[in-house]
Structures are given as structure tokens and as C-alpha cells.
Amino acid sequence: MSRLELITPEGLRVDGRRPKETRRIYSRTDLLAADGSSYIEMGNTKLITTVYGPKESKNNNSNSIINVEFHLASFASGSTAKKLRNDKKLMENSIAIRDIFESVLIKSFGRSEIDVFIQVLQSDGGVLAAAINGTCLALIDAGIPITDYVTACTAGYCNEQAILDLNYIEESSEVPCLTVALTPKNEKILLMNMEHRLHLDNFDSVLSLAKTGCQTIYESLDECIRK
């Protein structure tokens, strides 16, 4: 099988984007009868996030806690591999999202919990990042106080350049892929995952590109909320 050319000599990527361009983002809130809900599209990655809470907690916790569940529909991915309910990767994502949002939550409720459910309808790369963005929107839609937005984006390195917002084809080739989540106001990083190998020299440029990507996404999400 021939190796796909991820960046053409003219500087265009597989889907026609420039290296530092994010995919088209569409988002909206309040689509289901839940406390908070959001629908987000980052390119062809589409997912719905629903938030229930704060509500009565069956465990006796003194702090608010967040329960996160990640669902990947069988028709969501490109392959027809049987969806594994207890897929470790999905669980890892759930834990990551929980940790991120518990840290921006303003702890003012006792004995209550918040349930977050993420349903991936179509996956084309950047699923964790889209899930983080979707959760952020849904929490805001539910009127749950948080200290700031949390936006996330992926970035990689290929052909001597840093590229932004990887799709599935780019992710599944051997391009190093960095997922970053941060709070836009103070640029503090809440999550950072990286796959494959990346030379330390190039790390900075990839990271700063990811941060810029997050800011761009923040502007887009903020606009959506204001509507």
C-alpha cells in the first residue's frame, strides 16, 4: 500500500486544509430535554453531550462529583469493528474528562453529583478534544458554575511542520499527535496526551500551535453560547 502524502508540495493536507487551519466547527446547545446538552461538529467528528445535575447524590459525598460516560456508536467509526463496551481507551477518556472538569467546577453544592454522557455519532479524529469541548458547552448550558471555559485541540508534526486539528487519516498514520486542553483566560494546561514519537526540539512548536488552536476554538464556542 502506498504511503499517503499527508502534505502535498503546495502545502495542502488530505482534506484541503493548510497546516495551521482547524476544521470547520459547528456547535449548538439545548437540543435535548436534559439539564444541559450540546452538539458539536469538528469537521466530520460529531458528538452529543448531555449533562444531568446537579442532582441528589446516592453516595454521601461532601463535594460535587462528576460521573462521565463515553459511548461510541457502532456506526460511528470507519471500520465495522465490534464496539467494546469496556474499551479501556474510552474509560481513560472518561477519567480524563472527569478530572478536567472537576478542577474547574466551583464547589458550592453538597451531596450532589453531575452526570455527563458523551455520545459519539461520527468519529474522524480528535474525538477526545471534541468531547472536552462538548462537555464544556453542555455544562455551561446547564447553568453549572465553572471558573472558565475548557477548550481542547489536537496538533501533530509532519514533513517538518506542525499541523493543527488532525483528522482520522492523519491520526492513524505515524504522525505524532498531541491533545491539549486548557482554560483560555490564563492558558493553564489541564490535559496533555501524546502518541508516537516527537523530537523534543519540535515539541514547543507543536504545543504552541495546539494552544493557539484552543483559543480559536474558544472564540467559536463563546460565540455559540452567546446566541
Binding site: K55, A142, K227
Partner: protein
């Protein structure tokens, strides 16, 4: 007949642009003279918003009112709730809030007169007063340390609800007003719980004599309800559902206007999206004309 319609965009619904909207993380003011209310927090001597919504300034108190949020009650609020479980000398009541509310045995009216003190037998027979699933109206009496609220039904206008049905609305759409017990001219009573539970029932006339003999406080049966009364109740339920679907504030005047405008249609026709929109629009223009 089955009605199928093509999907429509969410943006088709008009929302008026609000000017003073803030989003989480946005700085409201750097002036330390202001006190922080709901929906805000302080960071580095600045007042920052923690939810997305409109800024409200009352004297020195600045708060942000989010568009949607779970019921956050205040003392004196009228709520409608459903008994979730029985506990030790108390009931846990579901009010669609952050936590279940508590109704203490000592906070209800006991049959046999106002002065009767509670005794052992009452505790055993708690179920004969309120059982799981029962609907009731009550007032918020106090708050516990963990944020949960305590209810009471010590006035005769509160108590077990019957002869009707429930409509659920987001609590943010219930407008605060002087009275939450509405009597419509068509023989339908509405209890607008500030927590979003709305009870629509056949009108019940309580004479002063009845108030002094609370034997019938905890009856578990409905009275006779005629077909016309049922139609009126379902009409009002559909009107309230229409207001919920179109994110309109719910209060007496708008319900009355919409009711009058809707009389030419059958109650079931009021379920159609287009008809709901036109009824709401005409009611709103009536309201604006009245001002």
C-alpha cells in the same frame, strides 16, 4: 392520523439579542465595592462570571442569572413536589432541584384540628398522610447547612394535590409573582410551583367552614370530573407546554390570553408546533398592546 413533518432548524425560533451577556471566565468588574451574588466568583480582586447569562445589579450586589439552571429556592417560595420516600419522621420530596427537599412530620397539618400535637400513632401512619408518589404543594420554610431545603404545608392552601395532572417546565421559566395559585375563569386552577412543577386541576372551592375542619386534607380520591372540565384541563396543560417549548415565561396573564385565543381550536390541535407559535405570538402582542 399520523402527522409527519420535515425536520426544522433550531434557529428558526427567534430569541431576542441580549446585550449584557457574560460567559464563564469573563471579568464583570474590577471595582471591589461590589458584592458577589449567584453566578460569580472573585479571582485576583476581580469579579468574574461563573455561568453564562445576564448580569443583574441590585444596589451593590452583582449576580449573573443563567438561562437554565436547577431550582434554587428562597424562603417563602411556593413549590409543587412529589414524595420520593418516607424517612424517620420526615418525607423526602422530589422538586426537580439540586437535592431532594425535606418535609418534616412536624411541618404538616394533622387531621382533627390545628392544635393537635403529634404522637406516636402519627409516625406509624405517615403513609396515610403522604405516600410515595403523591403530589403536594408546599412552601419553603428553611434551608439546611448542606443546601437542601425544608418545606411546610401549614397553611390550608397547601397540601395534597388531586383532581388534575402535572406539567413539567424548567424552573427558570416560572415568573415570580404575588400569587402562585391561579383560578382561571374556565373552572381550572393552576398551581405554579417555582421549581417548575405545575399542577393543573379542576377548580376546588374551599369555604371558610371547611378550613376549620381538616378531615378531608388527605383524601386519596378524585371528585367527579366532567368531560368539559377535562377538556379545559387538557387545554391549559397544552398551553403551558406550548410556553415551555417556545421558552416563554409562564405566568397568569399570558395563560389567560392564550386560553381565550385558543378557544376556537380543539385541545388536541394545540399540540401542533405551528399553532403553538401563532398563539404565543398573538398573546405577546396583546400583552405589549396592554402596556
Amino acid at each position: 392520523m399520523l402527522i409527519l413533518k420535515p425536520a426544522s432548524h433550531a434557529d428558526d425560533m427567534e430569541v431576542d439579542r441580549k446585550e449584557e451577556i457574560v460567559t464563564p471566565g469573563q471579568v464583570i468588574t474590577k471595582d471591589l465595592a461590589f458584592m458577589r451574588g449567584h453566578g460569580t466568583f472573585t479571582l485576583n480582586e476581580q469579579l468574574v462570571a461563573s455561568v453564562a447569562g445576564k448580569i443583574e445589579r441590585v444596589n451593590k450586589l452583582v449576580s449573573v442569572k443563567p438561562l437554565k439552571t436547577r431550582f434554587n429556592g428562597e424562603i417563602g417560595d411556593v413549590v409543587v413536589g412529589r414524595i420520593a420516600e418516607l424517612g424517620n419522621k420526615r418525607w423526602r420530596v422530589d422538586i426537580q432541584g439540586r437535592q431532594e427537599a425535606t418535609l418534616l412530620l412536624s411541618s404538616i397539618n394533622l387531621p382533627g384540628g390545628v392544635q393537635r400535637r403529634k404522637n406516636e400513632a402519627d409516625e406509624m401512619e405517615m403513609r396515610s398522610f403522604f405516600a410515595e408518589g403523591d403530589m403536594l404543594s408546599a412552601e419553603v420554610q428553611a434551608f439546611f447547612g448542606d443546601g437542601g431545603c425544608s418545606l411546610h404545608t401549614r397553611s390550608f392552601k397547601y397540601g395534597k394535590l388531586r383532581n388534575g395532572c402535572l406539567v413539567v417546565a424548567p424552573s427558570a421559566l416560572i415568573k415570580r409573582s404575588k400569587s402562585h395559585f391561579i383560578s382561571l375563569s374556565c373552572g381550572v386552577d393552576v398551581v405554579l410551583g417555582l421549581n417548575g412543577y405545575i399542577w393543573v386541576q379542576k377548580h376546588v372551592f374551599i369555604s371558610p367552614e371547611m378550613q376549620n375542619q381538616p378531615e378531608g386534607l388527605y383524601i386519596n380520591e378524585n371528585d367527579e370530573i366532567s368531560m368539559e372540565e377535562r377538556e379545559a384541563i387538557s387545554r391549559v396543560c397544552n398551553i403551558i407546554t406550548a410556553l415551555v417549548n417556545h421558552k416563554q415565561m409562564i405566568y397568569e396573564t399570558i395563560i389567560v390570553f392564550m386560553y381565550e385565543n385558543s378557544l376556537e381550536y380543539q385541545p388536541v390541535e394545540l399540540l401542533s408546533a405551528d399553532l403553538q407559535k401563532s398563539l404565543i405570538d398573538s398573546a405577546i402582542s396583546q400583552l405589549e398592546a396592554a402596556e
